[in-house]
């Protein structure tokens, strides 16, 4: 469970490939101010890249001019990443896990992004409605584990 939010950071980008790197810069700046974000910085950047790249290419079919809002919310021991948009709905939870790779010839090209998101987060949630789509990813604070 998330505790009461103590700090929320938000950035809005346009639905263009060139904008994606700006999100990594934003996460790195936040990481310099927050040990919790710093602990998950690389995984957060990977998950943002996966989700936003998918949105730009498929959710908006490569069309620029659509806002994508990204929020990071810190609580006591968890970090919540939310990606909000009004593109075509896509629930990553419905995508089947890829099969175990055994040979280079049989490797499917695609589907790895969602696999990465699943394995880098504690949980994934998704909602779609009149107000748009909201993808929520929770990162657990490894400092309090083990």
């Amino acid at each position: 469970m998330l505790h009461e939010p103590s700090n929320v950071r938000t950035i809005v980008i346009d639905s263009r490939v060139e904008e994606v790197e700006r999100l990594s810069t934003w996460v790195e700046a936040a990481a310099s101010e927050s040990p919790l974000i710093a602990a998950h910085s690389f995984k957060v950047q990977v998950c943002i890249e996966e989700a936003v790249a998918n949105l730009i290419l498929h959710g908006f079919r490569g069309e620029p001019g659509h806002p994508i809002e990204v929020c990071l919310t810190e609580s006591v021991d968890e970090l919540l990443l939310e990606i909000k948009d009004r593109g075509l709905p896509f629930d990553p939870r419905n995508v089947a896990e890829p099969e175990l790779l055994t040979s280079i010839e049989s490797v499917p090209i695609g589907g790895i992004g969602i696999h990465l998101m699943r394995n880098m987060t504690r949980s994934i949630d998704y909602a779609s409605g009149e107000t748009g789509n909201n993808l929520s990813l929770v990162f657990a604070d490894t400092r309090t584990e083990g």
């Binding site: 060139e18 990977v46 890249e49 996966e50 280079i104 490797v107 090209i109």
Partner: protein
């Protein structure tokens, strides 16, 4: 082949052509990831497409030198089973020439 910078959606698109040319002209390829600071699925896709193309011609491709974060993406993605990640150039050369 030495790669630099971010292998994200933009970085992968920027090297796709070079990697395609490489796949068409080489049979034993070691890809140096030492200076790759970020890797996500679009970059993995580029590596896999190249490795599959080389493999289809009887060749082999391996990667080496990845930093901790980049290596963790490769491991988590599961592609290290089919696209080996070596620690250094010597190990990579040994792998592609064996």
């Amino acid at each position: 082949m030495r790669l630099n910078g971010r292998l994200d959606i933009a970085g992968a698109a920027a090297i796709d052509m070079r990697m395609s040319l490489l796949a068409g002209s080489s049979r034993a390829v070691a890809v140096d990831l030492t200076n790759v600071s970020f890797l996500a699925s679009m970059g993995i896709r580029t590596l896999l497409v190249t490795a599959k193309s080389i493999s289809s011609k009887g060749g082999k491709m391996v990667c080496f030198g990845a930093n901790h974060d980049v290596a963790s993406v490769i491991e988590t993605s599961g592609i290290s089973m089919v696209l080996p990640l070596k620690t250094d150039l010597d190990a990579a050369v040994a792998a592609v020439t064996s």
